[in-house]
């Protein structure tokens, strides 16, 4: 597959068309109807949550949030294939994959509400925290890959970055190191066409992002990232390659960020309605749901009902997050060192002294 779809051939791997019709049944991944349906429901849950979070943000109940809207198939396919033993190294638009690894929606809420606990992932193993400095996490993925190879484990690393991130030095170093070390890492570029306002053509003069793999001696492929089956099949093949010790793999998942970069961003400044409408026709959820409807596995009625359920579940977890206890002054000094140095203890003490003074001051003033 990686020969046929060598990025030099300039073909994007696709399995279903925009109407959800299978283009070539030989390309289909190994997936049962039940699993396909589950994947769709999970993607729908992620989208429901995502849209709801933007509403919470508008209501002032959560701070800046980077939506996943329109990119759900990439995380969706990762969610299908990733196992407990595998590592997930996210950027910040991989909600579906994170939920599949056991991160809770509540934790994601906590993070975007401004609690560090949102990155603690209490019930999820082998997931790195969300990485804000663009592309820096990819080197960690390569390092994890080294450990897997060193200890001869049968594990994989799924590492994410955006199109903008491919311009950072860390991206190139990570893929280069991984290529030299031949480690089992699947790098997934979510090419959603924009780094904030900057279109991909300003990030690179390359024909594609997948083609960058060639220079590092790494297998690459460009995949329709809005095609759940194509993503899953590409990941299946990538997994086989890695398991043979022939990794890493670089996957460019071509998609579109239907929402804003973050809730602080206004895309009307830099892109047109026409462009948005053209991409809307390729919406990943609509394509998969059409496929399922054609097989009588799904209906609008079912969708409506389940979305209502999902909204309630999202709300439930959101309210739980809203009721998270407030931080006490001492909380901000935690987790800096294995053991807190005296210097920090002293600083914590000085903050406590200040609060004692302030409370007296404020109560004196209110007595007046």
């Amino acid at each position: 597959m990686f020969n046929e779809y060598n990025p030099i051939n300039k073909i994007m791997f696709q399995v279903i068309d925009n109407q959800g019709k299978v283009i070539d049944s030989k390309l289909m991944p190994n997936i049962s109807d039940e699993r396909a349906l589950k994947a769709y429901k999970d993607m729908l849950f992620a989208r429901t949550a995502d849209l709801q979070i933007v509403n919470y943000q508008r209501q002032g109940r959560i701070y800046t949030y980077p939506p996943n809207y329109g990119q759900e198939a990439i995380s969706g396919a990762t969610a299908t294939i990733i196992e407990e033993k595998d590592w997930l190294v996210p950027a910040f638009r991989e909600m579906g994959a994170m939920l599949a690894k056991g991160v809770s929606l509540k934790e994601l809420f906590l993070l975007f509400m401004g609690y560090e606990e949102g990155n603690a992932f209490k019930n999820a193993n082998k997931v790195l925290p969300i990485s804000v400095p663009i592309a820096s996490q990819l080197l960690h993925a390569t390092g994890i890959g080294y450990e897997i190879k060193y200890n001869k484990k049968n594990e994989l690393v799924y590492a994410f970055v955006g199109d903008g991130g491919t311009s950072e030095g860390d991206f190139h170093e990570a893929v280069n190191f991984a290529g030299v070390w031949k480690v089992p890492v699947i790098f997934i570029i979510q090419n959603n066409q924009y780094g904030i306002s900057t279109p991909t053509r300003i990030q690179t003069a390359s024909e594609s992002l997948a083609i960058k793999a060639i220079a590092y001696g790494v297998k690459g492929i460009q995949v329709d990232g809005n095609d759940y089956f194509a993503m899953l099949r590409a990941l299946e093949e990538a997994k086989k390659v890695c398991e043979r010790g022939e990794g890493p793999i670089l996957i460019e998942a071509v998609t579109y960020r239907k929402g804003a970069h973050t809730t602080s961003d206004d895309p009307t400044k830099y892109r047109t309605k026409e462009e948005e409408e053209a991409w809307d026709k390729k919406d990943p959820l609509r394509r998969l749901s059409q496929y399922l409807k054609d097989k009588d596995l799904w209906s609008d009625d079912q969708e409506e009902k389940i979305v209502e359920q999902y909204k309630k579940e999202v709300d439930r977890q959101f309210i739980e997050a809203e009721n998270f206890p407030e931080y006490k002054p001492e909380d901000i000094f935690k987790y800096m060192y294995a053991e807190m140095p005296q210097e920090l203890k002293d600083q914590e003490h000085s903050l406590m002294e200040f609060y004692r003074w302030k409370n007296e001051k404020v109560s004196q003033t209110s007595k007046k």
Binding site: F112, Y115, G195, S197
Partner: protein
Amino acid sequence: MNLVGAINDALDIKLNEDKNVIVFGQDVGVEGGVFRVTENLQKKYGKERVFDSPLAESGIVGTAIGMSVAGLRPVVEMQFSGFVYPAMNQIISHASRMRNRSRGKLETPMVIRMPYGGGINALEHHSESMEALFGHIPGLKVIAPSTPHDAKGMLISAIESNDTILYMEPKRIYRAIKQEVKEGKYTIELGKANVVSPGKDITVVTFGAMVREVQKAMVMAKELGISVELIDLRSIYPIDRETIRNSIKKTGRILTVTEGPKSFGLGAEISQIAIEEAFLYLEAPPARVSGYDIIVPLPKGEHHYMQDAYKILYEIERNVKY
């Protein structure tokens, strides 16, 4: 005019009068910057002079060094100061050394603009104030305005300077302060502090967004009968020793207010200056309000970290009572 407008005005003036001035960075072109600081400049001056770069801080600063060595005057933007670290290699290894290394033959006249500081309920890496880190780099000048008037004059001076200037923008007050700003071109001498308001009991030295917090504390201090002399540093490196010395000679006390971590911070540097320059005038140990030696907390814990008027008043009171 607010701070955003004043910085935009300064860029506009220099782009207009000097064709060697080039403005680039992430999202500064079409979008006009995530904070709209470079709004309309691409429309006005074209894509060759104001443009979006690939997403790579090291790339932005490194290419700006090349441009400046060759005779251009680039003004580049780091989207947030918390993202400058990939560019630190270029800043420390090249921008700050090129003149010295080439024995004066090569210069890097460029400005690196970057919004800094906390108090805006931001994600991780969006709230740091690392002036001490930058001030510790020999060969680099580090400045930070606190008002729209200063922002404009200081940026014009920075662009005209033949040194590499790190221009820290207090994003927390980007739109919080409005004032009349002189039309047209004016400059503010770099390296000179500004005595914002004279006082007699204690000198408070600060810069950027903290000037406003000190002013709030001063109102409360006044009710307690304490008269504060407020110095806005404007320039972190070089530091205006003379203004600090003269003020201590008058007040006998000094407090610094900074947002960055406490240890090895700007407050420590200024305290030492106080000791060196005015030891015999000091009536109390130089004091500081700063951050703590921790990661700036996310919004739910940030208020414990931040230096508000009460924290400043607390230290003023302690110092005066000493």
